[in-house]
């Protein structure tokens, strides 16, 4: 365990050092990320104002809070993608990683955890500007704040598992882009990334509850900006843990069979 802690801390440090090298690129990337929720925010705020000040239980200030917190959750949700798996297999990097006495997923989780440290620092000024412009309404309790900080890391791990499962399919197909795009489309609708889940039809919300996607976006955002009960907060954390464990099981299972088929192409 001590060895893994040492590895995670060192790998995070390396990620921070690398990202500092590319501060300008990271800032432009972050500005690009802010554009997406800003569009959603403007659209839904307009609709809310036209419908007498609120839509789906969200006031204009509530929507502003939702999408500003969204920008932080989005950063936390940046993980090693199936494209990354495709690339590492096609270009032979997986071969070098397989020579290490630990699963490559540790490298991914630790590296992107370190990457987030840099992005969160960059995020603060942008969040401040968005706050000044859109004037969010945000009154969380201490419990909500604590659960939010746990939930954003839970969301990170759930999304890591989803994408690792998809990425590992590359061990059979060498290309996984099409499957990734399908998953991405589902995520847009069923995660709360596009709109808060409460604005979705009831049947969509029902389906989403039993899928992993909403626990990566909607749950952590709503934990801070909504009015969830303590029971809902703890259930949400439980659902995240459930999907992390399911993901771990699937990753191990697919890895076990997939690695036997690995043909170490491209090198």
């Amino acid at each position: 365990m001590k060895r893994y802690i040492d590895f995670y801390l060192t790998s995070m440090k390396i990620a921070i050092l690398e990202q500092i090298q590319y501060r300008a690129q990271n800032y432009f990337y972050l500005v690009g990320v802010v554009v997406e929720p800003t569009i959603y925010l403007v659209v839904w705020s307009t609709i809310a104002n036209q419908q007498g000040g609120s839509v789906g239980g969200y006031t204009a200030g509530g929507l502003a809070a939702y999408y500003i917190v969204w920008t932080l959750v989005r950063q936390m949700n940046v993980v090693f993608t199936p494209y990354g798996w495709e690339n590492r297999i096609q270009h032979g990097r997986l071969s070098m990683e397989l020579m290490r006495p630990m699963h490559p997923i540790h490298t991914d989780v630790s590296y992107f955890a370190g990457w987030k440290m840099v992005m969160i620092v960059f995020w603060f000024p942008l969040a401040a500007i968005l706050t000044l412009i859109f004037k969010p309404t945000l009154n969380p309790t201490w419990l909500q704040i604590i659960v939010f900080f746990i939930a954003i890391w839970g969301a990170y791990l759930v999304r890591t598992m989803i994408f690792a499962v998809l990425g590992l399919i590359t061990l059979w197909t060498t290309r996984v882009s099409a499957i990734f795009e399908l998953s991405f489309a589902l995520e847009m609708v069923l995660s709360g990334r596009f709109v808060p889940m409460t604005l979705m039809p009831a049947w969509v919300q029902h389906i989403a509850y039993y899928l992993p996607f909403q626990w990566t976006f909607y749950f952590p955002i709503n934990a801070l900006v909504g009015q969830p009960t303590p029971n809902q907060l703890f259930t949400g954390l439980g659902m995240q843990l459930f999907w992390i464990l399911i993901g771990l099981g699937l990753v191990n299972l697919i890895w076990h069979f997939g690695i036997r088929r690995f043909s170490s192409v491209g090198n």
Partner: protein, 328 residues
């Protein structure tokens, strides 16, 4: 006698490769009915390597060298045969096994491109769980051996190919592996850099008694490091033994170089004249006739100097492949 470091018994790796003719018609047809060829990349090879041995693994491109190294390092599952490396079954990829081996591929990098090599060394320490005092001692020892004290502080992207290769070697050996699989470690490097890397591998083997299995197209690497060579071609093992035995067996000729005291003379009666210029003659003589011809030249000519040499190892290896291909 200690247990062998590496035991390979009837090891094979066969690939199923989809094939089709060129063109749209063939592509459409392949959607419904795919044809496959079975490629025997490695075909029932067997050998053992003792701890501390440095063995050259030779063969032309596509011979099966890298596939064998990948099976021995646990990257590929064999189709048949279970190799044994340090008492482990490589394909199980146990952490204890991976901590004791390394695979260096001349065209693959383990370094972070944007950071100084020192940072990548530190990450490697954490990956292998090397205690800090051991890590620092080994790191500094390797830095000194390869004379890269200043280079390790530069971002890797700013290093030349040869300088990067030195870093790759250091990072791959920081955990002091007992078995080194070196796949073309000097590929693309100039002769000075090749020599440096060779000396380092030699020194590592001497200091730590590591077992080394080396593939290289540069025969200078093999001659400098390997007493024993294994030759593989089309997945089959052609030769396993001392480099000198290989030369004896596959080289029917020796080269005699004669420097003449008076600057000229006739030599065609001794053998094939390969070159004659400025008082120096090079002859190719059948191996068994070398002592007799040498004695005759010394008796009949005014000789300043005379050398008898085996042909270049490249020529011998080429001959092995040509002869064995003809047999197959």
């Amino acid at each position: 006698m200690p247990n062998p470091a590496i035991t390979v018994n009837l090891l094979s790796k066969h690939y199923k490769v989809p094939v089709r003719e060129a063109g749209l018609k063939a592509a459409t047809k392949s959607l419904f009915r795919r044809k496959y060829n079975s490629v025997k990349a490695v075909d029932n090879i067997s050998f053992t390597i003792q701890p501390g041995e440095v063995v050259g693994f030779l063969g032309p491109n596509g011979a099966g060298k890298t596939t064998t190294l990948k099976m021995l390092s646990g990257l590929l599952f064999p189709t048949s045969g279970i190799p044994d490396v340090l008492g482990f079954q490589p394909s199980r990829r146990q952490a204890d096994f991976l901590r004791q081996i390394t695979l260096v591929m001349g065209n693959r990098s383990q370094m972070s491109w944007d950071l100084p090599a020192l940072d990548s060394f530190e990450l490697q320490r954490a990956i292998y769980g090397v205690p800090s005092p051991d890590f620092l001692r080994t790191r500094d020892e390797f830095i000194e051996l390869l004379d890269v004290k200043e280079l390790v502080k530069k971002p890797v992207r700013n290093l030349s190919l040869g300088e990067r290769m030195k870093m790759e070697i250091i990072v791959a050996l920081l955990h002091r592996p007992k078995v080194l699989f070196l796949d073309e470690p000097t590929i693309g490097l100039d002769v000075t850099m090749q020599r440096r890397i060779r000396q380092f591998v030699e020194e590592y083997n001497r200091r730590y008694g590591a077992t080394v299995l080396l593939t290289s197209h540069y025969m200078a690497d093999v001659e400098a490091l390997c007493k024993r060579v294994i030759v593989i071609h089309n997945g089959k093992l052609l030769f396993d033994g001392d480099l000198s035995t290989l030369v004896d067996r596959f080289s029917a000729f020796k080269t005699i170089g004669v420097t003449l005291a008076n600057g000229f003379g006739s030599f065609s009666q001794y053998g094939e004249v390969l070159n004659q210029e400025a008082g120096h003659v090079t002859l190719r003589i059948p191996r068994e006739k070398t002592p007799e011809v040498t004695a005759r030249i010394l008796a009949e000519q005014q000789v300043d100097d005379l050398t008898v040499e085996d042909p270049p190892i490249e020529d011998v290896i080429e001959k092995v492949f040509a002869q064995k291909s003809a047999e197959v």
